[in-house]
Symmetry: C2
Subunit: 122 residues, 2 copies
């Protein structure tokens, strides 16, 4: 049957991007400000660098985020949402609305917040 990648489903290209937990989180964390590599890594509960790098590259290739290198010592690299990237936020909002309605009380995305840092339950 002929229904290869080509026509499979238009949803796919979108799911490829936001269908990943990591990608979503990166986008979410960048919603308010640009962040450095290590800042992102820390906010994302110690995701290992290989994984975060891969996702950052993917998002960069998709033009969802931008990567700016400051040629300093020590090196500094900042990530930010592009215009396309910012327009993904409404999707995340919808997701949070749903989640708040049916899964968790709408206490924001605590645990991911820079402010709340890690509200350890322990």
């Amino acid at each position: 049957m002929k229904c290869e990648k080509v026509t499979k489903c238009r949803l796919e290209s979108v799911v490829d991007i936001i269908g990943s937990k990591w990608n979503l989180m990166i986008i979410w964390h960048l919603r308010t400000s640009t962040l450095r590599f290590s800042e992102l890594q820390n906010r994302m509960c110690g995701i290992n660098s290989k994984t975060i790098t891969k996702h950052l590259r993917d998002l960069e290739n998709e033009a969802i985020i931008s990567r700016t290198v400051y040629p300093e010592v020590p090196p500094r690299v900042e990530y930010a949402l592009t215009e396309q990237g910012k327009e993904i936020l409404p999707i995340i909002d919808e997701m949070l609305i749903w989640g708040g309605k049916f899964r968790h009380p709408p206490d924001g995305i605590a645990g991911c917040e820079p402010e709340g840092v890690i509200a350890t339950t322990e």
Copy 2:
């Protein structure tokens, strides 16, 4: 560091559900009508039965879809969106809006449609 699954991110529980290409597609296909196992399978470009079964079970456990068995011969099983499930559609809409804007012309989700069946490009 203490930031286990518990507090990781509220987004996660939502991503677990709609972060899967297959789950999204199932929900999308059920948006207008209930469908039988084989109908779903065919619409989803021949996804194999093991995979679709797993995702159907997952969605059922999450109360996103309902499963109704008709004790007939031959057996008939119908899947439908629950109320919770229907409320996921806005999220998908947002995704399609974004996809239409930045990835593909907004020609719907051709290739997934019962009507258009598989608009083979070849």
